[in-house]
């Protein structure tokens, strides 16, 4: 059975520290667009931490929710692409094939989660910032759509390495950059086709929810809801 990659996000652990955000930039060669482009809504963050206020001062609370491509099994971005640049992989990823992309931006319009980002200009890597580029990840051109890939380069590298050693992948062996840096261990990545994997077990949690699941997108990211404290629980 092929792998079916998924993620779990424990909102009771997430602190909103945003280590995931810059870890993703560094791993995936995401350029800054600068202040004037950012002011036009063109900043690119494959993962963002959404913040929700609840209540009013002084009885106020905050909830954080890291949002990134949900790698939908029924992805609205895929059928709208005229060039098949947005396509489903055998392992369940919504692949974005940069060489096919002609920049119609239909996919970003169709995406329910606002996680696709368009390169309005060729990315700027003012020398020698270009030396930090990860050679395992394509640098996108202007006019191309990009998004979270679950760090497919890390998945491929681990699969190749395991194949050469004639063994199967271990649970937890692959960590996308956001997961690796997540300080509070809120992000867990793994194979949803392996019932023993940590991510499969978390997907079964009674706290588990999916984002906008009612739209029928079949997202592969489980959000575990924040709990509240009860003095009596568990002790």
């Amino acid at each position: 059975m092929p792998h079916h990659w998924g993620m779990a996000v424990d909102l009771d652990r997430c602190t909103g520290c945003e280590a995931c955000v810059v870890a993703c930039h560094a791993e995936n060669n995401i350029a800054t667009v600068g202040d004037s482009e950012a002011a036009r809504g063109r900043a690119m963050h494959w993962i963002r931490v959404e913040r929700y206020w609840e209540g009013e001062f002084p009885e106020v609370k905050v909830k954080f929710r890291p949002v990134f491509c949900q790698q939908c099994d029924n992805a609205p971005c895929e059928p709208v692409c005229p060039t098949y640049a947005s396509a489903h992989s055998e392992e369940g990823l919504n692949a974005q094939i940069y060489n096919r992309c002609i920049g119609t931006r239909y996919c970003a319009n169709a995406c329910t989660y606002n996680v696709r980002f368009f390169n309005f200009y060729p990315p700027a890597w003012e020398k020698p910032l270009h030396l930090q580029l990860n050679p395992d990840v394509s640098v996108r051109e202007g006019g191309v759509m990009e998004k979270c890939t679950f760090c497919v380069q890390r998945i491929n590298a681990a699969e190749v390495a395991a194949g050469m050693q004639k063994r199967t992948l271990m649970d937890g062996e692959i960590q996308p950059a956001c997961v690796q840096s997540c300080t509070a261990n809120a992000l867990v990545f793994g194979d949803l086709n392996d019932p023993e994997s940590a991510v499969s077990k978390l997907a079964e949690s009674p706290r588990g929810t999916k984002l906008l699941e009612e739209l029928g997108t079949k997202p592969k990211v489980t959000y575990l809801l924040k709990e509240s404290w009860h003095e009596s629980r568990g002790a």
Binding site: G16, D35, A43, E50, R51, K61, Q132, S228, G234
Partner: protein, 749 residues
């Protein structure tokens, strides 16, 4: 050109490379023979240490081969070299445990920054105006040495002084040793936002002049008084790892009982946003609240006050605390008496529990009282400080950092301002006091009068622009690095790593420049420095704490000397005592009638005190509570905004007795109506293309209030007024939130 040089330079396309007339620049590019063995496309992981904050997280650097434009032997060309590609936490390192924070992830941009100083510079225009001229290292070294020789010739060595950021490595020792052997003044540390008050309080209460380690993962109840311990304070990575465990257990374990977290603060921080209960407190009354909780716990007989020891004797009125009954506490702090009683009982009944104080509560004129009060509460609950046994709070064993013996900048600048003949040669290492000091300290004026300033920094900022000579340091990835952790584990943790890559530019490691200068002095140091290189010094320091045969080799491989290494270290100092303190009202600069708001600057998630504002990834990082990017902002309560007719995004002017600034408004439900808060970090005049001329600096309107026992800046003790600006200057608030897509009506706005 001799044969050797010819071999070093192999032309990219035959002999045409040497022809200056060739039109295609690629053909004139010289290609150098690599200085190291590399396999194409294969990543190597090398240890390093994050230099961006005092926590000292161990890193692993992913190094791969690549092609860089460099200068070698005075010739420009390209070279195949190992280049750092990605930073991760070092899983062997007890502080980072394989994780890094948002800033650590961006640290790689320090090395590859397009505005790094890439060769030595000499001032070539009026001081402070900017023009610098490239010089050779030989020239630079002789300028430095002749200045030092000049002082020695006139017997005025005391007129030389080092000014550094707070350091927890052997560079600190090297600077101290050089200073004392040369006869220079005691080195000065610039750390106005540092934790001097808390260290002093910990010495009084527990006998440890250092920051505590909190085992948050094992705690079941965490009370925090203003500490941004998940974001910017103490050891945020370790503390965040612990926080995750406190909520839902270790990843693979069955979750234990979920811990509770209560935050007391007047403006919601990133840390406070995670609290089960977020409770606003009147600024400067946090100590009253802590003693109110202690009062309830003792009165209910939940803990015995006798077990508290020295921590109790620091507090006037201990153990009865008659002045801190819940009703009295409510009057002063604004926290309801019933809530004080309930939280006190929850805290006492749901152990292991800890109380943490950090940030603005310590930055009031009565900050010492707040710290001693929280220490007493901790001692009452059973956290007496040693960290042995069951207590989730303790103090790491460590070699004593020399920074303790350094002079604080506050007293240095006051003396220098009064007697400007004293300092003749200032040696500046990565401190930016011109940006980071309140205007009343007159730092720019005072430093400008010093006849000679040499800077070792990698960037031109508001202070290093005053330098006459710049001797640019390697970046941390190009240097031998080391770090003695102050907190974060039961300890000891001594981080250490060799350079992860060769130097990209014509820079030299500061410690080796200093050792080189010490050998070139006309009058030899007496006795001479005992090390030939920084590497040799680090080797000696490792062998001093770990005498085993493989210690040096294994430290380089692992990224440091870490438990369970065979390390023997002296116990920390045990100074105790001081006369018992009772609560005194916090003092604020500015008349309450004229300046009705408390001004609360806070360290930003992206830039800390502003020292990281030059990193583009951090500039474009959406602040997690406001989603602001590339901007400054001022936070105010919705009621306050409505009363003053201020809408979100309006430019407002914030004025104190000491200055004013303009910034866009963010209306936030997480701030008390009498508070105006503002992130630090922006408002740089000169700090690379990414930070210069952007936003406003809250430190520029702070009053020079101090905490009396330590003399530290009380940076939360300024009052301000605010008004909407009718004709805003330039500052615009850029938010990531809202529409991620461009709408036609926005175009052309």
């Amino acid at each position: 050109m001799d044969r050797r040089d010819f071999l070093k330079i192999t032309a990219a396309s035959g002999a045409s490379a040497t022809l200056a007339s060739c039109g295609n620049p690629e053909h004139s590019m010289v290609r150098f023979i690599p200085e190291e063995e590399l396999s194409g496309g294969v990543a190597v992981w090398k240890p390093s240490i994050c230099p961006l904050c005092p926590a000292g997280c161990g890193m692993l650097v992913r190094v791969m081969d690549g092609e860089a434009e460099v200068i070698r032997n005075g010739k420009k060309g390209t070279i195949q070299m190992g280049l750092a590609k990605k930073l991760e936490g070092n899983p062997n390192h007890p502080i980072s445990q394989g994780k890094l924070c948002v800033r650590g992830q961006a640290a790689i941009q320090v090395t590859y920054h397009p505005d790094r100083i890439i060769h030595p510079l000499k001032r070539s225009g009026a001081r402070g105006t900017g023009p610098f001229q490239e010089i050779t290292w030989d020239e630079a070294m002789s300028m430095l040495v002749s200045q030092l020789n000049g002082l020695a010739a006139s017997g005025n060595q005391k007129a030389a002084v080092f000014l550094t950021k707070p350091m927890r490595d052997q560079r600190q020792t090297l600077i101290s040793e050089f200073s004392s052997r040369f006869g220079a003044s005691v080195p000065v540390t610039f750390d106005p936002l540092g934790d001097h008050v808390l260290r002093r309080a910990n010495a009084r209460s527990f006998g440890y002049d250092q920051l505590p380690t909190f085992d948050i993962g094992r705690s079941r109840y965490v009370l925090s008084f203003g500490a941004d311990f998940l974001g910017t304070w103490n050891s945020p990575v370790t503390q965040s790892i612990g926080y995750g465990d406190m909520r839902q257990g270790k990843l693979q374990d069955q979750p234990a009982k979920r811990g509770k977290f209560v935050q007391f603060e007047a403006r919601m921080s990133q840390t406070g946003a995670n609290a089960d209960e977020w409770i606003p407190v009147n600024p400067g009354t946090e100590g009253v609240l802590a003693l109110g909780l202690a009062h309830v716990i003792m009165k209910a007989g939940l803990r015995k006050p006798e077990a508290v020891g020295a921590a109790g004797s620091q507090i006037a009125g201990w153990p009865g605390l008659a002045d801190y009954a819940p009703e009295e506490v409510e009057k002063r702090t604004g926290v309801k008496a019933e809530r004080v009683k309930r939280i006190a009982k929850e805290f006492a009944n749901n152990g292991p529990a800890i109380a943490i104080i950090g940030g603005s509560p310590l930055a009031h004129t009565n900050g010492m009282f707040g710290a001693l009060a929280v220490n007493a509460l901790n001692a009452l609950i059973g956290n007496a400080g040693a960290g042995n046994g069951e207590s989730p709070m303790g103090f790491m064993r460590q070699p004593k950092p020399n920074a303790d013996q350094n002079r604080h900048f506050e007293s240095f600048i006051a003396d220098a301002a009064q007697n400007n003949e004293r300092v003749k040669v200032l040696l500046l290492h990565e401190a930016n006091p011109v940006y980071g000091s309140p205007p009343a300290w007159r730092v720019r004026e005072t430093l400008s009068k010093i006849p000679f300033i040499a800077s070792f920094g990698s960037f031109i900022d508001e202070t290093s622009i005053l330098a006459d000579l710049i001797l640019p340091d390697h970046s941390f990835l190009e240097s031998w690095v080391d770090h003695i952790a102050e907190s974060g584990d039961s300890g000891p943790v001594i981080g250490l790593a060799p350079p992860a890559m060769h130097a990209l530019h014509q820079t030299r490691a500061m410690p080796d420049v200093l050792l080189d200068a010490s050998r070139k002095l006309a009058k030899p140091l007496g006795p001479p420095m005992p090390w030939k290189s920084y590497e040799e010094m680090l080797k000696a320091s490792v062998e001093a704490v770990d005498p085993s045969k493989d210690a040096w080799k294994s430290a380089q491989q692992l990224g440091g000397v870490m438990p369970p290494a065979n390390v023997s270290l002296p116990a920390p100092q045990t100074t105790r005592g001081g006369s018992p303190l009772s609560y005194s009202e916090p003092q604020f600069d500015g008349d309450a009638g004229q300046f009705p708001f408390h001004f609360l600057p806070f360290q930003s998630q992206a830039f800390l005190d502003g020292s990281l504002a030059h990193l583009p990834w951090l500039q474009e990082l959406p602040d997690v509570l406001t989603t602001a990017m590339w901007s400054s902002w001022v936070e105010l309560n919705p009621q306050t905004a409505a009363r003053l007719g201020i809408a979100a995004g309006d430019t407002i002017e914030v004025s104190s007795n000491h200055g004013n600034l303009q910034s866009p408004a963010v209306i936030s439900p997480g701030i008390a109506p009498n508070i105006i808060a503002m992130p630090m970090g922006q408002g740089h005049e000169t700090f690379t293309r990414f930070a210069s001329g952007r936003g406003a600096n809250p430190i520029s309107i702070l009053a020079p209030m101090t905490e009396p026992e330590t003399g530290s800046l009380a940076w939360a003790a300024t009052r301000v007024r605010v008004a909407k600006v009718q004709s805003p200057s330039k500052s615009k608030l850029i938010l990531f939130a809202g529409s991620l897509r461009e709408h036609p009506e926005d175009i052309g706005r």
